[in-house]
Amino acid sequence: MSTDVDAASRPEGRAAKPTMSGTPTLEARNLVKTFGHVVGLANVSLQLYPGEVLAIIGDNGAGKSTLIKCLSGALTPDAGEILVDGVPVVFKSPVDARLAGIETVFQTLAVAPALDIASNLYLGREERSKGPIGKIFRMLDTRGMREAAKNQLSDLGIGTIQDITQKVETLSGGQRQAVAVARAAAFGSKVVILDEPTAALGVRESGQVLALVKRLRDRGMPVILISHNMPQVFDVADRIHIQRLGRCAGVITPQSHTMEEAVAIMTGATTLDQPAGPGDGAGGEAPASDGQDGRDGRDGQDGRGRGA
């Protein structure tokens, strides 16, 4: 199921391309999820390789949320498998996914506004003091956690937050997002999933969050980014998974397609012939031609996904 991508066939212009070879850090195979007779996901597959940002785009109701909820354990798929580092896993709750190293920053952020930054970073995995005070009296190592939280934030270049004991509700939207992302990226996680991280943010703050995403990627952390915002997606994503009507309408790269083409695929105005299947990491990558369905004119790069 490993996909050997011929380096030479890669579009040029982006130096720091992730190596789309070897075992995907996170892989979904033929996920199916139905809600009554509404099909949320119909045979959706996805691969996420180390050190890449994979964007998931799609119209409302395309199954983006269902897909990431399955990946993050908030929903259990009806069929299909999820693999982490090539090992099949079953997530019954977000806790299971977190234990497997899949951290999700939900759109609602899942932070406790009345708690301070350090408490939020450690929420659900607090550390106790050493020795009998921690063991018997279960005293928290508040100071240690604050120190570590501070280091974590400065490691990620989140310098705007000075006071780690500040309550999260006193932070700006971008800072809150940064706290949520920092929490997701800590604790030895393998994958960070971000659901619409910039939806509620202004330009400057969005820029900061996107820079944070790039920094995570540069440290080798694969990121799944769900977004509606095409310029942002094309700015940070290495590959773009397009969901349409519960299916994967294709996986493109910012180099192979333009934003307009991506939107066309997303809305069904154009189709790619080859939605990415298992072992088809970079499937269907040709630029959509001007033709209605774009079935022709992709031979040049078509072999990339399946041939090699």
């Binding site: 899942a110 009345a114 929420l123 309550k167 910039t198 202004g202 969005s206 509606h228 915002n229 997303m266």
Partner: protein, 338 residues
């Protein structure tokens, strides 16, 4: 499809004195009630210097012990964005079990106390079960169990009171005097203070406490952070039930008689103390320490107004105004953003 990003000029407002006060109160929720307490003590001692007599202050603290203990449990439940209307009924039931088993069934004192606390725990467990498993709103659950526990208490005791002389000394131990300088406290008061210290520690210094706060603050966020919110809620109701059982013990020592007529206003009074103490009815904000101040404020008004020779009706009026002011203040503090 492309979302338009609107530039929002987020300018940090320069800190006005009002904003700074708001921030400080936001950080330290107990400061508000503490200053109200200090101010009212000063005001009442000006109105009548006898207010500051060691006898009066001792009595005040003795009188507040039961309500303050009940309010600890109430605080924990309100911190989870819940409410408990069955507080008084649960304590009365526990009290009747303690007194009856000891006086009528010959159960040794200490065992009778444990039985009463156990019954208190059961009442909490039932409330918690209905809230977390049956997913009913706490208001409705405890409105129902208020009647249930009251009727069980009446049925069990046949409406008969048990007097101190029929009870073993362990039951009225909480009424024993402890003299500290000119002040005369009771062991019940000491027990109450210990409970405040223990619960305050558990809520602020342990992971469990953080989970209680975050569950009350935003239950969904807590769940997504991996906190088993149902278990946290259940534990809070259980611990509160144990505390109500201990309050029943303090009550027996204080009043010297176990009667179903005790604690008639405890349900609402405990909520009053919690709210005046700065804990938010919306959950996730507040501190048990504030509740101690809240209960003391209520008692100070009661004692101070009668010592000032004012019609005691005004005490009820003042309490009502305090509750509304406290909630309005809470709303204002919660508006802190950025």
């Amino acid at each position: 499809m492309t979302a338009v990003i609107e530039p929002t000029g987020q300018v940090r407002e320069s800190e006005t004195p009002g904003a700074r006060l708001q921030h400080t109160l936001h950080r330290h929720p107990a400061i508000g009630p503490a200053s109200v307490l200090v101010a009212s003590v000063i005001a009442f001692s000006i109105a009548n210097p006898r207010f500051l007599n060691s006898t009066n202050l001792s009595l005040l603290v003795q009188q507040v012990a039961v309500l303050a203990t009940l309010a600890i449990g109430q605080t924990m439940i309100i911190l989870t964005a819940g409410i408990d209307l069955s507080v008084g009924a649960a304590a009365i039931l526990a009290q009747m079990v303690m007194a009856q088993t000891a006086a009528n069934n010959g159960v040794p004192g200490v065992l009778a106390i444990l039985l009463g606390i156990f019954v208190g725990a059961l009442t909490g467990l039932l409330n918690g079960f209905l809230v977390t498993r049956i997913k009913l709103p706490p208001f409705i659950v405890t409105l129902g169990t208020l009647s249930i526990y009251t009727s069980i208490g009446l049925r069990y005791s046949n409406g008969q009171s048990v007097y101190a002389k029929a009870m073993p000394s362990a039951l009225i131990w909480t009424g024993n005097y402890v003299n500290i300088g000119p002040y005369q406290l009771t062991t019940g008061v000491i027990l109450m203070l210990v409970l405040f210290a223990v619960t305050s520690y558990a809520l602020t210094r342990t992971a469990w406490g953080r989970h209680v706060y975050s569950t009350g603050d935003d239950a969904e966020a807590a769940r997504l952070s991996g906190i088993k919110t149902g278990r946290v809620l259940l534990s809070v109701y259980l611990v509160a039930g144990v505390i109500f059982g201990l309050a029943a013990w303090i009550l027996i020592g204080r009043v010297g008689v176990a009667s179903t007529n005790n604690l008639t206003n405890a349900n609402l009074d405990s909520i009053t103390a919690v709210v005046i103490g700065g804990t938010s009815l919306f959950g996730g904000r507040g501190a048990v320490l504030g509740t101690l101040f809240g209960a003391l404020i209520v008692q100070t008004f009661q004692s101070g107004i009668s010592l000032a020779g004012v019609n005691s009706l005004y005490q009820v009026l003042a309490e009502g105004i305090l509750v509304i002011v406290a909630v309005a203040l809470d709303q204002w503090i919660r508006r802190v953003r950025r």
